[in-house]
């Protein structure tokens, strides 16, 4: 064979081989089906990690879903939704370990749906190190700065620093920063005395330091981040986290303050739990309890000495409540601010005066373990116990319930306006025949009538599968019977709820009538989301998180005979 012929043959072969294309990963990679759907107010987000994308499904009239893809970082770690359901945060660990310059850094992708135009957009923040947990600011959208903090979790890389946190100010764009301007996000290491972060809690806006006027020092509004480790509590001043260094030896931001719970002389350690922050800006108080003693730790952030890097320092106060607390809250009583602690082992609650440690025990009818303040939904309309006169203004009402397995303790309303004088008259019990698993809030409603409702989900495996709609104002608990233990979802507009099991059974319960409207999905239901359509109306999206994902979509307001199945959602070409 001549050289020219060989050349020609080789060329033909090369062209043929080049023409053989390998399919894009979007057609070949398997689909992860666990914990990958997230409900937003205006859509449902599905994380398609194999293709480094989030598919946002939005409803249209006619029960049609339209979809849009957003690129996310490599190797999805976790995701969370903002409290107002407008924004999805997706944390990715990137390509670890990075071996080439092409490998991707860890990142946070923020996908936000504009509440008026319903148009989604996204932005990406790169991070120095991979972290697996997210803590979202509960005041998202309500303050000037919107914070997100990424922190370490249990499953991690070969070697990592568990005390590293990365603070994002999502109201500002990604920035590498400079010597005098902090980057966004900013990473910092929490000083550790052997502990690792377990829980992060944001403060409301606080005017710190407390008692500044009497101390003759200035005060200013502040957001704090409390980090509960397994042995101590750290306090990070979020408002000043991006401050430039004050000297060549310091870094960006103010140093955190660590509240150590162990002296270091003993082997036993105490792990802080249930940290709560007083909502009154000027008080500057927070409290927590531990898993190893019977104290309630109450702290106030008072003015610090001038040499301190922070302008506040916590002053600690310990109070023994006679048993291990299961839940605490700051409450306003007729005698002033107290820390209320539930002590199931003594079937009691204890009110703690945070400055003097004076205690007021209140006997309860059952070992209640959980407490939620419902003052905002009852407000001045709350009647006193036994239907008597309303409690004094500016006092709280708490809802108590128990999540202990097998304990059908019902629920109790604790009227704190009459607690100190007549504690025995402050509790009103509503009987619920089954152990309670959780109490679901009905979101801020379009109709104020529903703001006094709570939904009591009962424990699976209990007798039947009832759940209860609790009317705090009327003091009624209406049972809804189901044949199986259902999963419950409250619509974000607060007008209805959905009960479903993981077959094809579904029911709409309108809070107006509480009459269940049974429905059938054409595909098995993994989870349901009640979303606002891009044009008008609302859709109930029942996701089948199997195979290539499908969704049966109903008109959420009038769902009968409106079901339309949208199949192969993750096969749509991007």
């Amino acid at each position: 064979m001549s050289a020219s012929r060989r050349c020609l043959l080789g060329g033909v072969l090369a062209v043929s081989l080049a023409a053989c294309t390998t399919p894009a990963p979007i057609w070949t990679t398997p689909i992860a089906t666990s914990n990958v759907t997230y409900g937003l107010a205006d859509g449902v987000a599905v994380v398609d990690d194999a293709n480094h994308r989030v598919v946002l499904l939005q409803g249209k009239s006619g029960q049609v879903l339209v979809q849009q893809s957003f690129t996310i970082g490599h190797n999805f770690q976790s995701a969370a939704v903002s409290p107002d359901l407008s924004t999805l945060f997706v944390l990715s660990s990137g390509d670890q370990p990075a071996q080439t310059s092409q490998d991707q850094q860890p990142s946070l992708t923020v996908i936000q749906v504009d509440s008026s135009s319903r148009r989604p957009s996204s932005q990406t923040y790169w991070m120095p190190d991979p972290l697996s947990n997210l803590a979202i600011d509960p005041l998202w959208g309500m303050t000037k700065h919107n914070y997100v903090v990424a922190w370490s979790g249990s499953d991690t890389a070969f070697a990592e620093n568990p005390n590293e946190i990365v603070i994002f100010d999502v109201s500002r764009p990604y920035s590498l920063g400079s010597a005098s301007v902090a980057p966004n996000p900013i990473a910092r290491n929490i000083r550790s005395f052997g502990g690792t972060p377990q829980q992060l809690v944001y403060s409301p806006v606080l005017n710190l330091p407390a008692n500044a006027a009497s101390a003759g020092v200035p005060s200013s509004n502040r957001r704090l981040l409390f980090i509960e480790t397994n042995i101590d509590v750290s306090i990070v001043d979020l408002t000043h986290a991006f401050d430039p260094p004050t000297s060549t030896t310091t870094t960006f931001g103010r140093k955190e303050i660590t509240v150590q719970l162990t002296s270091g002389s003993g082997a036993s350690s105490l792990s802080p739990m249930g940290l709560v922050v007083d909502q009154t800006p000027e008080d500057g108080r927070f409290a927590f309890f531990t898993n190893g003693d019977t104290n309630v730790y109450s702290l106030q952030l008072l003015p610090a000495p001038a040499s301190s890097p922070n302008d506040f320092l916590p002053q600690i106060n310990l109070t023994d409540v006679g048993g291990s607390p299961s839940d605490i809250q700051f409450v306003r009583t007729d005698a002033g601010l107290r820390v209320a602690a539930l002590v199931p082992s003594t079937s009691s609650a204890v009110l703690v005066e945070p400055d003097t440690s004076e205690t007021t025990p209140v006997n309860l009818s059952a070992p209640f373990t959980n407490m939620t303040l419902v003052t905002n939904v009852l407000g001045a309309s709350a009647s006193g116990p036994d239907g008597g006169a309303p409690p004094p203004p500016n006092t709280d009402v708490a809802l108590l319930w128990s999540t202990e397995t097998g304990v059908a303790a019902g629920v109790a309303l604790w009227t704190l306006g009459t607690t100190v004088g007549q504690p025995y008259r402050s509790i009103e019990v509503l009987t619920v025949a089954e152990p309670i698993q959780t109490v679901l809030d009905v979101p801020p409603p379009l109709r104020m009538a529903y703001s006094t409702l709570k939904v009591l989900a009962t424990q699976t495996g209990g007798v039947g599968g009832d759940f209860y709609v609790l009317d705090l104002l009327a003091r009624t608990a209406s049972p809804i019977h189901t044949t199986t233990s259902p999963l419950l979802s409250i619509s974000p507009d607060g007008l209805r709820m959905w009960a479903y099991d993981q077959s094809t059974d579904l029911a709409q319960i309108d809070f107006d009538t509480l009459n269940p409207l049974p429905l059938t999905s054409q595909t098995p239901i993994s989870v349901v989301y009640d979303i606002q359509n891009v044009d008008h109306g609302r859709s109930l999206v029942a996701i089948d998180a199997q195979s290539t994902f499908a969704a049966t979509v109903f008109d959420a307001i009038s769902p009968q005979a409106t079901a339309r199945t949208n199949v192969a959602l993750l096969l749509e070409a991007p």
Binding site: V12, V15, S16, A19, C20, T21, T22, P23, A24, I26, W27, T28, T29, P30, I31, Q63, V64, L65, Q522, T523, D544, Q546, S547, T548, F549, A550, A563, R564, T565, N566, V567, A568, L569, L570, L571, E572, A573
Partner: protein, 244 residues
């Protein structure tokens, strides 16, 4: 269709002119040298049947759900008849049918398949080299029928779409005479082996698949849009043929 018609008629015209220039007998032969013009050795009859294999390299991304490598195999049949002959050149017209399929498992869960049948009119200009066979250029306009199907577990019926689309091939090839290779002027069955390469073009379409539900079904299902598919790309064909 107009440009193709021009191509169809241009081939024989060009071949005829070229053949005239190369092998036309003298216009006024002298009696001494008069002898019958030597027949051109085409070694084939007027009819020709082909059966072969066609492989296409489809680079369009819309084909990726149906193939792991972008290759599309087809069975190929054609029949042609020589319409014009002039010197070393001839022109044949015919019909061809290619059928092939490809399947894959999209995202490792949903079986997906593509079936395509291509019906074309072949317009073929040939230049003959005696017992060594002939080279040819072929244009083949026609239509392609595509059926795309995805079986999704959540769908009450397979998701599918069928469509007729305009199609054209342009190719060049060579046919080798296998047997018998003698008896140049004798019209008898002869067997050929041929190979060609070219470019196949099928109009694109949007793969909006819908469940194939019986009419009147109360089930409302929205299908899936797999994007656009255009079965276009280089191809080769090897075939055996018989002429008579």
């Amino acid at each position: 269709m107009k440009p193709l018609a021009i191509v169809a008629f241009a081939f024989p015209a060009a071949f005829a002119a070229s053949a005239g220039a190369q092998s036309a007998p003298p216009s006024s032969p002298t009696p001494e040298s008069a002898e019958l013009p030597r027949p051109v050795d085409r070694r084939e009859g007027n009819w020709r049947l082909e059966v072969g294999y066609r492989g296409s390299f489809v680079s369009d991304s819309g084909y990726q759900p149906f193939s792991s490598n972008g290759y599309f195999p087809e069975f190929s049949m054609a029949a042609s008849h020589t319409l014009l002959e002039d010197g070393r050149f001839s022109f044949a017209g015919g019909l061809a049918w290619d059928v092939g399929s490809s399947s894959s498992e999209v995202r490792q869960v949903d079986p997906a398949s593509l079936v395509m049948q291509r019906f074309t009119v072949t317009l073929e200009g040939r230049i003959h080299f005696g017992r060594w066979g002939y080279a040819y250029l072929r244009a083949a306009p026609g239509a392609a029928w595509e059926k795309v199907e995805v079986d999704d577990a959540a769908s009450p019926a397979p998701l599918e779409k069928t469509n007729w689309l305009f199609a054209t091939d342009l190719s060049a090839g060579y046919a080798c005479l296998l047997w018998p290779r003698d008896a140049a002027s004798k019209v008898e069955p002869r067997f050929w082996l041929q190979g060609e390469g070219g470019y196949g073009w099928v109009a694109g379409q949007e793969l909006t698949l819908e469940p194939a539900l019986p009419s009147g079904s109360p089930v409302q299902t929205t299908g899936v849009d797999l994007g656009a598919l255009a079965m276009q790309g280089g191809f080769f064909r090897v075939a055996t043929a018989v002429s008579f």
